[in-house]
Symmetry: none
Subunit: 408 residues, 2 copies
């Protein structure tokens, strides 16, 4: 028995519902996608409740499940995942928060929760406030895209269970309150950080410039969504695979790092509509030379859906298909290839939905079920039936002759 | 994203097996049912193990599962589960016990815990002791198979946490003791019931006959395994829906009330074969004006099956189809409609069976899977695959854009 390599391609939000403007076809049904259909034709299909029936997956929880981790056990708040995505190495005991750069007036009323969706300068602002020590706790602060940022506290006796400083709408700023007695110190440190960073940010040259240009100052940090990370057994250890990922979008990168994957920075693979599909294909093929398990995420479908742009979504399907055809042209025939989505994002509702996603797995001498197309309805007649996201990884490992035996 | 309303129609026991007299078609396959088939044609189908594979659902446990409650968690202790199995409708606050008919000597020593595995006569014995009133508590007692029976207490201030009367081996009989102070009254009522029923049973003609035949008298009841119905989070609270039900049959009404639903009394909706289908259709449509979730149960199919009347069962299918056509004529196109059964009741066996039931869900912009008929076999090829009863409610909520998101 030869162990095969595995390529998992996750098309973010590509799964959809019937679209009126396409005579009630879904974008996957409306698009021309010979490579995806070839995959379906040569393997087995099915549909998947990524978290469970009737549960709308986030991209973070979905990717955890697709990689075989129970998100209900791993995930405590969004903070840690954002932190991991921003490249901050989290250790057990650390607590993390999502933050906004925001604008407050002199009475600490939040006048703009996003500081005018500030586009530049946040790296400098973050540099000015990261590295503080408060009560022996080390503060790590890092900017994200636009007004977004991450706060990580490292030290003894921390607990993420505090209330948000972010009021979630314009108005009076809140103080962090401990939600359990163990979180008293954390609430105190967070409040002190917010206070001290306000003093620094208010008079920072970048904000002085912004004020001159009549732009709102990014003069306050609003932490929210505190969480901590369960110790995760790294993917390579858990399954005995060398693993690598190609992903453009920060959140997905974060998940990959959290499970101990090597994440490749592909120039041009932006996580946007303009992502370089050819570069992604080449990166995937290159990584398959040196790794047992390669994971590729393409974000563009989700973006088209959030914009409600069904024509763009069909275009994205066809772009991904082109990327896939480049991969199929050069891939070793023994590689097990799985194609799926992390969740549905129907263009009709512009949001994630609970609809099951299609998946197809081929290669490695697997069975062939006669399904000829890759879409939400065709896949539902496939031989792999309806599974849960956490079943995908074991299923792929099984087909790659890498599953574990239980019994004699 | 607009939240849609939901109509759930449960055809009690309509699901069946092939019937010889119909050339091996099921009643659903044999009947003319254009409205049901239209639902299937416009939505997605699947099959459902209402409790789990190979478990025969009762109407009560089935309805709990269909409404999203785990029947194994709702009923604490074995007593309530046995009571449910014996067809005793349980309400919140009731306590239930498994019992044995047993044999005691004059000093109340248990000489046979199963009264010689008594085979007949227990129905008459049960009739002689059920219906007592003790301290304002109503006693419901029902025989099971052989020496087995169920005791249910209905009244104020009851608590199931008492010790067993059953010594679990031959020897000195025990007195029920309260395990918590709140259970003092329950222990007292149980002990009094055991005493009084002993007096009745000892001289009951059936036992006099048994003594003559040198068989041990079934002269004592030994309760054990007390439990009660859990306080349930009401449906409207759990899912953020205003809910109403139309049901004729007492057991189903009981479950609806247990989960906090408003149950409409529809004149003519009897829960029998003569139920007024038109009145039910009108009630469902009326309730959909004012509620987010409307549940309709039609009992007639189950009754025809228990009578083994396959012609009547086909007639019931056609009657329900007529009701459905009245609903479909006037319903808002955005309502998500689910049609299913709570269990199979094959006319060939005249009892509930563990066969999966068909279901179909349509409306609200959902996907369409190409299934053209509503029956046990057609539904099994549907895009929704094979689910469990507890997955139905989340699935409907997902299609109605009322599901909750987990993650970012």
């Amino acid at each position: 028995m030869t162990e095969k390599k595995i390529l998992l391609i996750v098309c973010d939000g590509l799964s959809d519902r019937p679209v009126k403007q396409f005579e009630m076809r879904t974008p996957l049904q409306a698009a021309r996608k010979p490579a995806m259909d070839a995959l379906a034709r040569h393997g087995m299909s099915g549909t998947m409740d990524v978290i469970g029936p009737g549960i709308i997956p986030g991209s973070d929880t979905a990717h955890l499940a697709l990689l075989g981790y129970d998100p209900y056990k791993v995930y405590t708040g969004r903070g840690p995942i954002e932190a991991a995505g921003a490249g901050i190495a989290l250790a057990r005991g650390d607590v993390a928060f999502r933050c906004n750069f925001a604008t407050v007036d002199k009475s600490l009323n939040v006048t703009d929760r996003r500081a005018g969706r500030i586009k530049s300068g946040t790296a400098d602002l973050a540099k000015a406030i990261t590295g503080m020590k408060i009560e022996g706790v080390e503060v790590v602060f890092k900017e994200g895209s636009e007004h977004r940022a991450v706060l990580v506290l490292k030290g003894e006796g921390l607990d993420h269970r505090i209330s948000d400083v972010d009021p979630h709408h314009e108005g009076k700023m809140l103080e962090a309150r401990p939600l359990v007695p163990e979180a008293k110190k954390t609430a105190m440190v967070v409040n002190e950080f917010v206070k001290r960073s306000h003093d620094v940010l208010q008079k920072h040259p970048i904000n002085v410039e912004r004020a001159k240009a009549k732009l709102p100052r990014a003069n306050i940090i609003l932490p929210r969504g505190g969480g901590s990370v369960r110790d995760l057994e790294p993917l390579h250890q858990r399954y005995g695979l060398s693993c690598a990922a190609v992903a453009g979008v920060t959140l997905v990168k974060g998940i990959c790092k959290l499970v101990g994957m090597e994440v490749l920075d592909v120039p041009g693979a932006t996580g946007g509509l303009d992502t370089d599909y050819k570069a992604k294909a080449e990166a995937a093929l290159r990584l398959l030379q040196s790794h047992d398990f390669v994971f590729v995420n393409i974000k563009a479908g989700d973006i088209a859906s959030h914009d409600g742009d069904f024509r763009m979504k069909v275009q994205v399907v066809e772009n991904i298909d082109m990327m896939l055809s480049l991969i199929l042209k050069d891939i070793h025939e023994d590689v097990v290839i799985a194609l799926t989505c992390d969740h549905s994002t129907p263009v009709s509702i512009k949001e994630h939905s609970a609809d099951p996603v299609p998946f197809t797995i081929s290669g490695g001498g697997t069975r062939v079920d006669g399904i000829k197309e890759f879409d939400e309805i065709s896949a539902a007649s496939g031989a792999l039936g309806r599974i849960r996201g956490m079943d995908l990884m074991p299923t792929m490992l099984g087909m790659a002759d890498r599953a574990k035996k239980f019994g004699s």
